[in-house]
């Protein structure tokens, strides 16, 4: 029981170290991967998505025809040896159009979803973290933005920027971030009262550190779930814009547009709906399952 006092020395208060997580940081991602690769559904989805990306790149090169060349003698041909996915009402190869559509839709989905998530995360985070008057202003701003008719923005953007992928991404993200911000704000407000945050604060963690090391990682679960919803939402939003006539610039196409056209001819040429619809649905399904897997793998609370 004799412990010499000399063996101890006062190290002082070190704000940095006091907060440090001792676990090595690379093990976190390893851990995530381990969990993720254990999730069959997620891995299956991942493989599907990667295949899809590859096909989106090489698919159009596999046929001699181009996605925009008409053949008025061979319109609305059913799928078969000659036309793998059939042809559309201008005699264009649906095979090529589906993969071109995949490029466009996936690009729009990811870009818009990531764009709006980042904005939502930052603004929602600020509102939730600082609270008070700033929070009030941000939330009222969001209220106003949500209530202004979406189509006004869309039409304005189209008139200013023309049609194309970038204007559509902006149009979708411009209103898409609002809900994300609300969600993140709600989460952060709840988290602020949790013990581990309180202890981090009492250990002297600064605001930035709190936000980036504690609050944001702890909202990731919810954010990723929303993100996996945001991607299909963006793809659907593009389809909706196609539905009301303001979408991608022809002769380019997107899945939404293909499905919209397919919808019109459903009773006569069901394959024209079936093919894009199956691709949309499978992609959505894969994204969701992968997102779920990622969420489970990432969520610090489920880690044991």
């Amino acid at each position: 029981m004799d412990i010499a006092k000399e063996k101890f020395r006062h190290v002082g208060k070190d704000n940095e170290k006091g907060e440090l997580i001792t676990r090595k940081s690379d093990s976190f991602w390893k851990d995530v991967w381990r969990r993720l690769s254990g999730n069959k559904a997620a891995m299956f989805s991942l493989v599907f998505l990667v295949l899809l990306l590859i096909m989106a790149i090489v698919g159009p090169m596999m046929t001699p025809q181009s996605y925009n060349v008409n053949d008025l003698m061979n319109t609305n041909q059913s799928p078969g040896k000659e036309h793998w996915f059939g042809t559309d009402s201008l005699g264009r190869e649906l095979w090529d159009r589906v993969w071109i559509g995949a490029r466009v839709s996936i690009a729009i989905g990811f870009m818009a979803a990531i764009f709006q998530t980042i904005i939502g995360l930052i603004i929602g985070g600020i509102a939730g973290f600082y609270g008070g008057r700033l929070d009030m202003f941000i939330m009222r701003f969001i209220d106003v933005m949500i209530s202004i008719p979406y189509l006004i923005f869309v039409i304005l953007i189209m008139v200013i920027m023309g049609s194309g992928i970038v204007p559509i991404v902006i149009a979708i993200a411009l209103t898409g971030w609002l809900e994300m911000a609300r969600l993140v704000r709600g989460q952060i407000m709840q988290l602020k009262n949790e013990e581990f945050i309180i202890s981090a604060v009492s250990l002297g963690a600064g605001s930035l550190r709190l936000i980036f090391k504690h609050l944001i990682p702890n909202t990731l679960g919810v954010v990723i779930v929303s993100l996996t919803v945001a991607i299909p939402n963006a793809i659907f939003a593009e389809a909706f814009l196609s539905f009301i006539g303001i979408g991608i610039k022809p002769p380019m196409t997107s899945w939404g547009q293909l499905a919209d056209i397919g919808m019109q001819v459903m009773q006569v040429y069901p394959y024209q709906l079936l093919i894009p619809a199956v691709f949309i649905s499978l992609t959505m399904l894969a994204l969701q399952l992968f997102g779920d897997g990622l969420r489970d793998a990432l969520d610090p609370k489920l880690r044991k």
Partner: protein, 554 residues
Amino acid sequence: MVLFRKSSWLLMLLLVVSFMLAACTAESGDTDDGKKEGIADDGETEQVLRMAMESEPEVLDPQVSTDTYSIIVNNAILEGLVRFHDGEIIPGIAEEWDISEDGLTYTFHLRETTWSDGKDLTAEDFKDSFIRLLDPETASAYAYIGYYVKNAAAFNQGEITDPDEVGVKAIDPYTLEFTLENPTKQFLSLTSFISYLPSDAEKIEEFGQSYSSSPESMNYNGPFVIDSWDHQESIVLKKNPNYWNKDEIKLDEVEINIVADNSTAVGMYETGDIDMVTLGREFIEKYEQSGDAEFYNAGTTAFLQYSYNGEVGEILKNSNFRNALSYAINRQGLVEGVLKNGSTPAERYIMPDTLGKEGLFAEEYPLSVFPTENDNEKAQEYLDKALDELGMTKDELPAFELLASDRPDDRIISEALQDMFDQTLGIKTEITILPHDQRLQRLMDGEFELMWAGWGPDYNDPMTYLEIFTASSTYNTTGFESDTYDDLINSASVEADVDKRGDLLFEAEQYLIEEGPMTPVYFESGAWAKSGSLQNVNRSPFGAEVDFVFGYFE
């Protein structure tokens, strides 16, 4: 424990689902019973026509209204001096009429009849309605349809304020006289047009701007009256017992459903909810195979319009260049391979069914300028000639903007044109799709290069197609201004001699084809299907698009 837990949740889910299904099926059973059948209990055919219309009538007030759907409904609930039916002008409220030698005075002799509420319908009603059309206070968009009448334009534009100076007089309660500015061949048929239909001054007094917004807030003098009106859902018409010609009207009731989506309307037709339906391009083939599709002339000449403004306009002004584009278009391929709706390739500008001097204009003045199929060699020749004249090489040609509206058909046609120009001539185009109004604004500002456009007739005369390209026309923002053309149109519009007038119009058409800022592509048709027992319902490019007034079930 675990088992119980699992099954309890399952049970809950099952309950919810079965509740829902039970509620649904029970209800749907009810409606099946209540579904109207074509045959009434006594075995006689029930004369109830059920149809679908794409959109709600914007406003039924005849002096304010301008849209297709109001015209369809007004055609059934109101009647003008004459009635347009199945391509013919038949007496309406006017029993007979006289036209003066110089073609300037029209005297209508009205029959003694009443409004649906029993009030007398007189020449005064028609006169007041016409003045109301022109009154700046009404702010009617179609006021200009009245401009053929003497001093009408001046009164509408506030240059004169006394309505008595306008060339319309109620000589006695049953005689109405119009005096025109110029002899106007189409004036008689115009008096069946929506803007010339009567409105009831007393009801207008009572309801103000809300006149005609509900069944009670208007008065009827046509074959039908509105029985009920659920906005955006349905309008139910009942036979008007006070209509002068009620014996000729067989239908007791007409139920007009507002159904925006064509597949939905076709679905309703297939389940027997409606008796006739317009077929979108996609359904035509299916119905054609079963022999149920009927084609009708939509009246529109669809054309590629050019702007002569600006730098690009200099290229488009070149007639050889326009010819090159024209020869690159596979008109036959478009109508047969893509549209498949009975449209025909345009070999000229004026729609073939347009009335000429006596018969059809196309028969009296035959013309076929444009090739039905593309001629790549000729197109190339024209392009070379054009490039020579312009002092350009092909690489110096810009990528032209091709502006189109967001209608699905317009989109697909513009994509086809883009490919044809590229494949045949190597000419590149960029398609811009804009919503209807934004495209229209670009048109009116003259801000376009190539535009996919078309013109539907306002009345049955070549003039309706030709007058839009005069220098003073509000439609013509193309930068095409030709004194020669304007002179031809102006002389034709004051010419009382039908032969001379016809010659002038034909000359104008040829000049326009040569120099004008557009290349006709096809004459638009549509298709529809109707129940076999339904007879005497017409579709026409002039007047009401659907005319069911004299329809009946066998």
